[in-house]
Symmetry: C2
Subunit: 437 residues, 2 copies
């Protein structure tokens, strides 16, 4: 029998300390920004009842759900009753519907955690990946949309991501555009998906896609005329404003943009009348964040006032957004690189067995001063212990050999410079604290 | 068709903000202590290949593994290829074996995360629950066992848990006891499980269990004699020391205890020669933490130098321990209670639509001062907005009505006392910052 593979299952990842610490730091930053904006955490289980997830993600999404086999005697049926969550939105909606009597009328919620999709793995596409969501339940005010946009923007600014653009639009504006051009409702989806690719495939690409999707000739012509004009945005806006619903939708987007723009510190916002976004459940404003560096979509969201009705009788106004945190982490790693240290700041060597107690006391004294410290566990000669301290990225090493011992002192060595100094045992913690400041 | 149940699946839990924040704070404390002790995070996926987990947890454990159905066309076979992790130890061992060339020779690792077991749910027993593990890979030194005990102890001390006792023993001492009493190897497990219950069921209970497990008469008699003597511990120690392996095992435990004892600040440690612990994979020192308040086991672990051989050719010395963090959280909730606030510290009301921009500017200025702040999203009259601020546990509310506006000021209201004061808009952030100090 061959030993089982030691790699993590396809599409999932292990993280060794360096990368795990980097990710942890990113998640901690996200949390602190969300908290500073008045968002509070929801936590839901990794799995849901299968029927909670079924019928929420379209035909393609449905195939990607990881299903969990029944237990005990029922395992033999090969049937599933549970499934790993596919996103954080549907479970949060279930939780909100379940516990709404325990919640204030306006809920700002965040959640950071893994979701699972049985997608074909590829660069930047995983079967287990993290999402970072914020949502506002119970407010129909455009200030709620503004609130979500500001919280997401602030995360990117605090993380130090170099520049981003928020594209903002609304479903009403898109419907207005479609009616103004005479696209019949059954063709809206196809036409919008084609338009949404304009930034990537240009007017010729969009033209090919529109022709392939068999729209009325007038519709295709109108759309392409606008895109080919000197100022496509102005042309599209004029056309949308010729429709009442479209005009109202644009106004709503403009209003939100005007509130957000003056408060951005690391990005900009623009109303983009052809931004469509895939998911059908949006009902109002929709948005997408694009990193200036790489043109990647790094966040997205919008208002979805109808999703609640799948779980409860009342309809509840909800808007929210999700950071593409795996992509953001990749961009940050490219921009700022990893930081190496995985060990404690200060490494206390052990001369011989007799000195173990002394070494442990010193470690405790260092920690009491707020210095992270560890005692050598590798054993052997001093040179070996120093090598381990170096491998672990410790900045300072403390040695107490016979010389030092006779003088009641220790030697404090800075690993990077190689500088050494003596200090009394009692003073060593404050000397180290000073050195690493 | 009935709507699906809104409750989380059996044995799993949702957490609303209050409880989620409480748990987050506990996990953050655990992390900070582990980090201060030189431990660094490993992260592994929620699921593993089924064969990675199979054969690791005994017959009973095996039944509790959540299995994941194959995807796509293979779903119809009803077969599973993946499984949710059952603990954090086996995945960490797999990861260590997989990546040991990228790791220093001594690895202090921690991991905090959920595991899943299809156990019958009950009070304090869940199907999804968190574990907090520390392990030292690659050191056979007793200082590594000391290191693990100190890291776990320090977490309990920093969390403010009121008192605990570490029971320490070793597999060698237990084997010594068994041979000194003439218990044949096939009966070791049964005899040790009976002895391990001494604290709970007393000498009569142990007596009944020993008799039921059909030991040689001499063995039962020796063990009961020791337990019934004036000083059972001394009697057991004397018997163990009559066996060479037993004597060495006790000496090792005594040595560890003597290193740990002087460094404890909130608990005590004692060598307990009948502590057995269930899992078979331990090979050296073993331990268990008992909360003085409630006699619950709140942590446990030991040395398991043979587990590595299931994943790699070399044997690797490893010791580690796991906090019973769900039980610890329950004890802390009983002792210290919940803290309520889920909203931001400062709530900025909105008088009317014209004031939205002003309100958003003020919120941004508050955050720039480090004050968590949120803008009203509920709308409506001031009284309604104040009610929402109250529901959300906000400490300070800012109002800018027509009077204030005319004077270029705002009113700052402290919710608990009801005290109000005026401040200029520019000064408001620093006034609030001062108030909440």
């Amino acid at each position: 029998m061959t030993k089982p593979s030691l790699a993590p299952p396809s599409g999932s990842r292990d993280f060794l300390p360096q990368e795990a610490l980097f990710r942890e730091r990113v998640f901690a930053t996200v949390k602190s920004v969300f908290t500073a904006h008045g968002y509070a955490p929801f936590e839901t289980p990794a799995f849901e009842r299968l029927e909670t997830l079924s019928g929420k993600y379209g035909e393609e999404g449905e195939k990607l759900i990881f299903k969990i086999l029944k237990r005990g005697e029922k395992a033999a049926t090969g049937e599933a009753d549970l499934a790993l969550r596919y996103d954080l939105t549907v479970p949060a909606m279930r939780l909100y519907a379940h516990r709404r009597n325990d919640l204030p009328r306006v809920v700002r919620r965040y959640q950071i955690g893994p979701v699972w999709r049985a997608d074909r793995p590829g660069r930047g596409r995983f079967r287990e990946f993290y999402q970072c969501d914020v949502d506002v339940f119970g407010s129909a005010s455009p200030l709620a949309d503004v609130d979500v946009l500001l919280a997401l923007s602030r995360v990117l600014e605090v993380l130090g991501l170099k520049g981003f653009t928020i594209r903002l639009n609304s479903r009403q504006a898109l419907r207005g555009l479609m009616s103004a051009c005479g696209v019949p409702p059954v063709k809206h989806q196809a036409a919008l998906i084609a338009l949404d690719k304009y930034d990537k495939i240009g007017v010729d690409g969009v033209s090919a896609e529109l022709r392939a999707s068999d729209l009325p000739q007038r519709a295709t012509k109108s759309l392409l005329n606008d895109l080919k004009s000197n100022n496509p945005e102005a042309a599209l806006r004029a056309r949308i404003e010729s429709d009442d619903e479209g005009k109202a939708g644009l106004l709503a987007a403009d209003n939100i943009a005007s509130r957000v723009a003056p408060l951005l510190q690391g990005g900009m916002i623009r109303v983009d009348p052809i931004l469509a976004r895939g998911l059908d459940y949006y009902t109002g404003p929709i948005f997408e964040f694009i990193a200036d560096d790489g043109a990647d979509s790094i966040a997205g969201g919008g208002r979805y006032d109808d999703l609640a009705s799948l779980f409860m009788k009342e309809s509840v106004p909800v808007c929210g957004g999700s950071l593409g945190i795996e992509r953001i982490i990749m961009l940050l790693q490219d921009q700022v690189g990893f930081e190496p240290a995985v060990g404690a700041v200060c490494y206390v060597t052990v001369w011989d067995e007799v000195d173990q107690g002394d070494a442990l006391q010193l470690v405790a004294a260092l920690r009491a001063e707020g210095v992270s410290a560890e005692v050598d566990l590798a054993g052997g000669k001093l040179s070996r212990q120093l090598k381990v301290a170096d491998e672990r990225g410790c900045r300072v090493v403390i040695v107490q050999g016979p010389d030092e011992k006779a003088a009641g002192e220790v030697t404090i060595k800075e690993m990077e410079s190689g500088n050494q100094r003596r200090a009394t045992k009692a003073n060593a913690p404050s000397v180290v604290k000073e050195l690493i400041k």
